[in-house]
Subunit: 328 residues, 2 copies
Amino acid sequence: MTTQIRVGIVGYGNLGRGVETAIGLNPDMSLVGVFTRRAPETVATVGDSTPVFAMSDLEAGRDDIDVLVLCGGSATDLPEQSPALAAKYCIVDSYDNHAKIPEHFAAVDAAARPAGTTAVISTGWDPGLFSLNRVFGEALLAQGSTYTFWGRGLSQGHSDALRRVPGVAGGVQYTLPSETAIERVRAGENPELSTRERHTRQCFVVLADGADADTVRAAIVNMPNYFEPYDTTVEFITAEELERDHQGMPHGGFVIRSGTTSEGTKQVIEYSLTLESNPEFTASVLVAYARAAARLNKAGDIGAKTVYDIAPGLLSPLSPEELRANHL
Amino acid sequence: MTTQIRVGIVGYGNLGRGVETAIGLNPDMSLVGVFTRRAPETVATVGDSTPVFAMSDLEAGRDDIDVLVLCGGSATDLPEQSPALAAKYCIVDSYDNHAKIPEHFAAVDAAARPAGTTAVISTGWDPGLFSLNRVFGEALLAQGSTYTFWGRGLSQGHSDALRRVPGVAGGVQYTLPSETAIERVRAGENPELSTRERHTRQCFVVLADGADADTVRAAIVNMPNYFEPYDTTVEFITAEELERDHQGMPHGGFVIRSGTTSEGTKQVIEYSLTLESNPEFTASVLVAYARAAARLNKAGDIGAKTVYDIAPGLLSPLSPEELRANHL
């Protein structure tokens, strides 16, 4: 039995709770504890015996941690935390502001290299597994088109926008991929698809007392950027229905590469996820990449990394010999 | 513009022709030529200007080749050629005798290390991409079941078996995945599936003159190992229909990992291929791994490798900076 990989969780929302649960499913990993900005004694963890520490406990550089899994948000937490913590620890984050990834990578790399740590940034499923499959698809089928569809899934950003509409007391928004569009892509048609043709948006709304349904519906479907570019449906439900039927955080989607290898010879590669819990699955991905980060660091491979830099075998608890003998 | 990767093709059947075509679709690669055991002047290549050399031309160790793509068979060609050529060149092969992969890996590694070459073995789509997705699935969802389904696809081995039945003048066999089984797996049922429940076999047969259809059908469906364990259908067609409708080599399949991340929370990962030409797609995979082999060797990473050892970014013609900026 090899030594366990000792993991710390930084930030304890849905994602942090998912990481805690995922570590429990991986016998080669152990949880050192949760690090939080809240008062530790106020945090109730999933596991009864999970230690909770103040964030400041990380400052000195603890020697009982192999990897930190950063579970904060991309807007303000990770741009600051990832470089700061990579200067002392191996880390994994799920930084998802696509446009600023090169900047984030550079900042984390600059912190990690002098410290001799390994830092995997922007993992999860998108960015992460979907990013991988876009690149696999293009490398394997040099001639073709790549499509990403999201859903059916709960969109946090669009649900927030929905709840800010006057007259809305509560609600959720689901993004749905267009079945017609997916079928055309699967058939190798390589269609040009507009925003409206790719996804539809489905809103479930609880009306505030005295609000007018038609006014609220119009305000939603005409909201620029968020809903106007899509075919959006609005269904009014009761507060009880919202509570009963819409507490899950499902998500998923499809990455499809459709190409030709010779004149008229179609080849289609499809990767899809159907997730009943988006944060729990994202957490599982982070934990597998935490295993890879610890192994890379042990092998002396330091600095910032993305999913593109990490050999898939490093994600598995099995040895290369076991993988070759039983999985190839 | 970086220097092109110079590729040689060893063996020139369907797979070798596919590699020739695939190299033409990848501007960062160039084809040195085809190496064959036949008399070179008797070989007609897909490309008018493709040079054809005798296999013996490889013996001295040519310095105009970065990687050889080995396109021989796993039964007798590759066990001999892969170690022999890895002692002089970087190579990629599609060795697919699953049970003997550890032995093949060891033989190739022993040849490659002292020579300072890099040798990627057992790539293609199964073994290869499907192997990768089995390991990704298990690493990402520690708790769950993995399913591989093949087809709809032409099975070379089963078609050969079919054609050896007395009374059969010609024919082909397609392997079909069970739609019912796939739906159960997608729904997260984690079913135990028997061989008969996973796949069916569909035979198209041209009867020899005077042969009795019922006798031939019975001989096929009762053939041990090949057809008896499956629900097998036999359809009799004319030689013209065989020629007209069954010359393609379609294949594909599904790797599905279905698991839970907490009590009752289902998560499903699905990877699928729908291929109009099995050899052309396999060739495209070999070419992408040839790119990785050349890059690994340039970085000093030598010895035998499998798909598990190769960072996905190495398959792409794009640089790590481009991948991070545009694909993550």
